[in-house]
């Protein structure tokens, strides 16, 4: 299981190759891309910041949890930091498993937990020159209060 935070673009094929195991019958991946709009505003790019030490640990914990919950062979994930352009890959998750159901479920679990728990923040840069830190969309349920 490996989770990494990168401040530079990485070769996604190389990440995918880590998941190619003889005992795996399939592979499922999720890519999060920088899109050109959010909540009615034209976006020119996103800037990501991470508390790397803890992001790394929490990301690894999530991958281990996925391994405990689903019948998978391997899981790899990465999150980018720095300034990303429209279309850039901000987050990548890959899971290999003997059977497809577990691969899909684990992939979904990992992206949901990354978004909920890993200390990474995004700032939206708008076409009109403004920039704002994105507000949390999942805090109303008290998820951030231990």
């Amino acid at each position: 299981m490996s989770f990494n935070v990168f401040s530079f673009p990485v070769d996604l094929n190389q990440l995918r190759e880590e998941l190619r195991l003889a005992e795996a019958g399939g592979f499922c991946s999720f890519e999060g891309w920088v899109r050109n709009h959010n909540e009615g505003h034209a976006v020119s790019g996103l800037e990501y910041e991470a508390y790397e030490l803890l992001a790394q640990k929490e990301g690894e914990r999530i991958l281990e949890e996925a391994r405990g919950r689903f019948e998978i062979n391997h899981a790899v994930a990465m999150h980018r930091t720095g300034f990303l352009k429209i279309g850039d890959v901000a987050v990548w998750i890959g899971v290999s498993a003997p059977h497809r159901d577990a691969a899909f479920q684990a992939c979904r679990y990992i992206i949901d937990e990354i978004k909920r728990r890993v200390p990474v923040w995004k700032k939206e840069h708008y076409v009109d020159g403004r920039a704002e830190w994105v507000a949390c969309h999942h805090c109303e349920n008290g998820a951030h209060h231990l």
């Binding site: 803890l54 929490e58 890993v118 923040w121 700032k123 949390c136 209060h145 231990l146």
Partner: protein
């Protein structure tokens, strides 16, 4: 008095206009420290919206701070 190293990220870094600082305090509870910093810097977050990490791990809000601790208050995360 204990010596603490504080580190700020994202909105909190911009509002505090610094990424790190060393403070000396008599406060012992992480929760009380946040309330003091919220007052000092006018952070917009209620404590209930944040998490706190000490020495690279999440800790509960009633964590008792120790001399030399590295403390990070974690604003709502927005990765992905």
């Amino acid at each position: 008095m204990i010596r603490l190293e504080l580190e700020y990220f994202a909105q909190m870094k911009e509002i505090a206009e610094k990424s790190k600082e060393v403070i000396h305090t008599d406060l012992k509870k992480a929760e009380d420290l946040y309330l003091e910093l919220k007052e000092r810097y006018n952070f917009p977050f209620k404590g209930s919206r944040l998490r706190v990490a000490v020495n690279g791990d999440f800790v509960p809000w009633d964590y008792q701070l120790k001399n030399g601790d590295h403390v990070v208050f974690i604003p709502p995360v927005t990765g992905g």
